[in-house]
Structures are given as structure tokens and as C-alpha cells.
Amino acid sequence: MTALPAATGKKLGLVIDLDTCVGCQACATSCKEWNTAGYSAPLTDEDPYGSDPHGAWLNRVHAFEASDGIASQTVHFPRSCLHCETPACVTVCPTGASYKRGADGIVLVDPDTCIGCKLCSWACPYGAREYDTSHGVMKKCTLCVDRIYNDHLPEEDRIPACVRACPTGARHFGDLGDETSAVSQLVAERDGFDLLPTLGYKPVNKYLPPRKRRDARQSAPAAGVETAHATGAAVERLFAWVDRVLSR
């Protein structure tokens, strides 16, 4: 049913650390690899070896530049379903194929009853849903529902594929409805935030902001201070480097 559960037992979701994400795309490729054989398989690619390769992916890693006018920083930004508490993608669904699970809050699409009307993708502000042309149904992040409860997998693998794959530990999985959980504490500690909170979808997934960076303007050598110049010899370049490091 597309009516939302009054409350969910757990609020399973992800916490994504924008400070440590390096934009390696391991989460995106791992997601694709698992899910093209998983709950909502296949995740079809169109024209994969041609001039216009595209297809359904459940996780996309953007890169943004944030600048205060002088100093700027690159932020890698993974984007997938946020498993919202009030997801309009679910309530607009005319068939009941989209639903939010009462037990754990995971938002899923039943690939056997979806008619491929695409209205849910219009209702999602986060671009989390991608239509699979060859399958004729909508695809979205399942929070690896076929991994996290899977007794056939070793315990350490019972987490979403993206979390398992992340080499920098930038992705965390857990119950965000439980204030004592590791993910909830991380959010509290690091001032985790919601995407587009004003739209009222109440995302469960949280993002951790990049930590404060060293200000390049403060660490540049002051005018008039003599600095060692690298003129070619290896030892001079070493001294120049030491000078730069000590000047910070």
C-alpha cells in the first residue's frame, strides 16, 4: 500500500561523510555490481559500448566546488535514496508498487507490480529513482535489503554494498531512529544535516559536513620574510620544501 506507516520500528539509513569521501566511485560501482543481480535486477545499461552509454544506477557520486570567493574546496558528494520518513514518491504511486516498510523504514519498489508511469521519479527531489527502459519499471536504492538480513552472508557483509566497498570509511549504515546507535551519535557529534529540509520529505539519510580546512591565506609566507628558493639541486629543493612546511 502506498499509505505510509504511522511510524517505523527502525529508521535504517546511511550517514555519508563528505569530509572523508574521496570520490573514488567504489560505492557506485559496488552498488551497481550487487544490485544488477539483486532485489530489483537487472540494472540495465543502454548502448554500453557505443557513443551514448547510460543506464540505471542507484548511487551517483557528484563533485561540487564550494568557494567563499578566495579559497575553494572540492567536495565529493554521493547521492542515493534517502529513505525519507514522508516520501512523496511512495504516496503518489498509483499501484502500490512503491512502499515504505513499517519494520525498518526502507523504501522499496516492487518490480512485479510497477507500471513504469515514472510519477514517483517526478515526486523525488533527490533524483534517487531511475527508470529502467528495458525492464519497464522504476529502480531505486534498496538499502541492500537482500544483504542486510541475509544469513547466508558472513556477518561483516550484512551491510549495504556501498558501505562495504568504501575504502575511506565515509559511509556508515545503521538505525537512525535509535539515539544510542553509532550512526546517530556520529550525526550528533559531527553536526549531520538533511538535504533540502524545507521540502518536508524528512530524509533519514544524513550528511556530515566537511571539517574546517586550514585557511590557505593564513599560511602563505608573509611578504618580506626571506624564503629559501629551489634552484635545482635536490638538497635545495628539500630545504625549500622544509621551509614551506615550517612556514605554515
Partner: protein, 315 residues
């Protein structure tokens, strides 16, 4: 938003069909034309034909049209489902009224009751269509108080133009029909003008800084897209019409969906019957063209908030 032709055809054709159905129900209730078999078959053939063609074409954009029947189940939450349920429900009294008019040549008793029931059901179906779009907070240009009134007004205006043609063909009160069409066209044009003024003036105050939550670091711009080719989200949600084209197309809407049909329907006054029929036919064709442009623009001018992640300046 990418304009899906099947959806444009559906909303315009079935909108005109429901509009005509409302006016036919009123014509039946108030004897605007003799209740005869020929007029019944023509009028309801046109109205129900437009509605049915529209509904069938709307299934063309589905990935799994064979499962379309499932869309009747979620009327508690989904405006799309409500639209489907109401569209089918409207056939019952409309079909009964059509049988009374075209076969029994009777518009009293149960047929009058079915005419009375057809009006709210047809209007509710059009309202549901509008609400599918108006209920989406992700698209500022659709999430507007005027979206539903514009849908209703264009449905009733295009239906009234068809009614004028119908009344001119079957010896009815075509002068009254023409006045009705003229007023409805003016109302639709006025509402659409107000709608366009509103979406032009309303500030687009969401930026990539809001979408990413990175505004705390400064201004945010896209450095690198997550993929080399456009994906589904960009193809479906990223479609936008150039501003200068949009202005020309808006003028075309006022010309073809208001000025031309409004002048032509007045041709039924004091003219030979065949001139009236020809004028009303031309008015209908012009209306169809204008409506198509209006509906295409409704999609092409809609900017989805997700485009902020892909480099849109504001939404």
C-alpha cells in the same frame, strides 16, 4: 520536464472530452437542443471518443501498460490513481445519459439523474489530472494554486468550443453556445496569463547550496558530473525550453487557444448555418493546436529541483 507526447495528448483530448461531457449534460438538463438520436450519437461519440482516445494514449507512456489496471488501487493517497478511478466511474452515468439521448431519445427521469451525476464526476476527473501536477512540491511551476483552475478552465473552454460546433450542427441554441465558449475562453486565457505572471515573478530561491547543504562553505557549483552521458534523471527532469522560445510559444497559445477560436465562434451569429458550422470547426482545430502548445509549455517550462544537483542555477 520532458514533455511526453502521450501525456500531452491525454490531458488535452480527454480534458476537452470531459468539458464537452459537462456541457452536454447541461444541454440535456436544460433542453439546449432537441434530444435526437443523430445528435446523441455525434455528441457523445465525440466526447466519449476524445476521453477514451486520451485514456488509451496515456497508457502509451507506461513501461508496463499491461499492468495499468493496478493503477485503480491506490486512490487513498495517489491523485493519479484517483484520476483513473474517476475517469472510469464517469463512464457509468455518462454512458447511461448517452443511451437515453441517442437510443431512447429521452432526457427525463433516470437519464436526467445520470446527467446530474456526470457533471461532478467529469469535473472531479479533470481536477484530479491537475492535482497530479499541482501536488508535486519538487516542481515550482506546477506546485501552484492556479494549476488546477487552469486545467479546469481549458477543459471547459475547449469543451464549450466543441459544444458550439455541436449545437450549430444540430439546430440547437448555437448563439448561447458561442457566448458560453467566448466567456470560457476569456476565463481560461485570463487564468493562464495570471499563472504565467505568477511563475515569472515568484523567486526561484533554491540553489545548489541548498540541494547539497554546502552553503556553509560558500557558493557551490558543479565541478564534475557523476557520469559522462546524460542519465534518466537529466533526460526526464532536465528538459528546458529556451526563454525566448517560451515567450513566442506563450503568444501562440493566446492566439490559437483564445483569440482565433473566440472570434470564430462568434461567426455562428446571424450567419448561414454552414458558415456557423465551418467557423466552429475551424475554432475547434485552432483550439486543439493552441491547447497542444499550452500543454507542451506546461512541461517544458517546469523546472525540477533535482536539476540543482546537475548544474541548474536555481529552482
Amino acid at each position: 520536464m520532458h514533455p511526453a507526447y502521450s501525456v500531452i495528448l491525454f490531458t488535452t483530448a480527454s480534458g476537452a472530452g470531459y468539458g464537452l461531457l459537462v456541457w452536454l449534460a447541461l444541454a440535456s438538463l436544460f433542453d439546449w437542443t432537441p434530444i435526437k438520436s443523430a445528435s446523441g450519437f455525434t455528441g457523445f461519440g465525440l466526447a466519449l471518443g476524445l476521453i477514451t482516445a486520451g485514456l488509451l494514449s496515456s497508457t502509451a507512456h507506461l513501461g508496463r501498460p499491461e499492468r495499468a489496471w493496478r493503477a485503480f488501487s491506490q486512490w487513498r493517497t495517489s491523485w493519479l490513481s484517483r484520476e483513473g478511478v474517476l475517469a472510469v466511474a464517469t463512464y457509468v452515468p455518462a454512458g447511461l445519459m448517452a443511451c437515453g439521448w441517442a437510443i431512447a431519445e429521452d432526457n427525463t427521469g433516470i437519464y436526467a439523474l445520470s446527467a446530474l451525476l456526470t457533471i461532478p464526476l467529469a469535473l472531479a476527473t479533470v481536477v484530479s489530472t491537475g492535482m497530479i501536477y499541482a501536488s508535486l512540491p519538487t516542481i515550482r511551476q506546477w506546485h501552484q494554486p492556479l494549476t488546477v483552475p487552469v486545467y479546469l478552465a481549458f477543459s471547459l473552454a475547449s469543451g464549450a468550443v466543441l459544444l458550439t460546433l455541436f449545437l450549430a450542427l444540430f439546430d440547437g441554441e448555437e448563439a448561447g453556445g458561442a457566448m458560453l465558449a467566448f466567456v470560457m475562453l476569456a476565463v481560461a486565457a485570463l487564468l493562464k496569463w495570471l499563472y504565467w505572471r505568477r511563475i515569472d515573478e515568484e523567486p526561484r530561491d533554491l540553489t545548489a547550496a541548498d540541494a547539497t547543504g554546502l552553503g556553509r562553505l560558500g557558493t557551490v557549483r558543479v565541478l564534475e558530473q557523476p557520469h559522462t552521458q546524460a542519465n534518466y534523471v537529466m533526460r526526464e527532469m532536465g528538459y528546458a525550453v529556451a526563454r525566448k522560445h517560451a515567450l513566442k510559444l506563450r503568444q501562440a497559445v493566446f492566439l490559437f487557444a483564445f483569440a482565433v477560436p473566440a472570434l470564430l465562434v462568434l461567426g455562428v451569429f446571424e450567419a448561414a448555418p454552414w458558415i456557423g458550422v465551418a467557423a466552429a470547426s475551424l475554432a475547434s482545430l485552432s483550439m486543439a493546436l493552441g491547447l497542444f502548445v499550452e500543454r507542451w509549455l506546461f512541461f517544458a517550462e517546469a523546472q525540477h529541483v533535482v536539476t540543482l544537483y546537475y548544474g541548474a542555477e536555481a529552482a
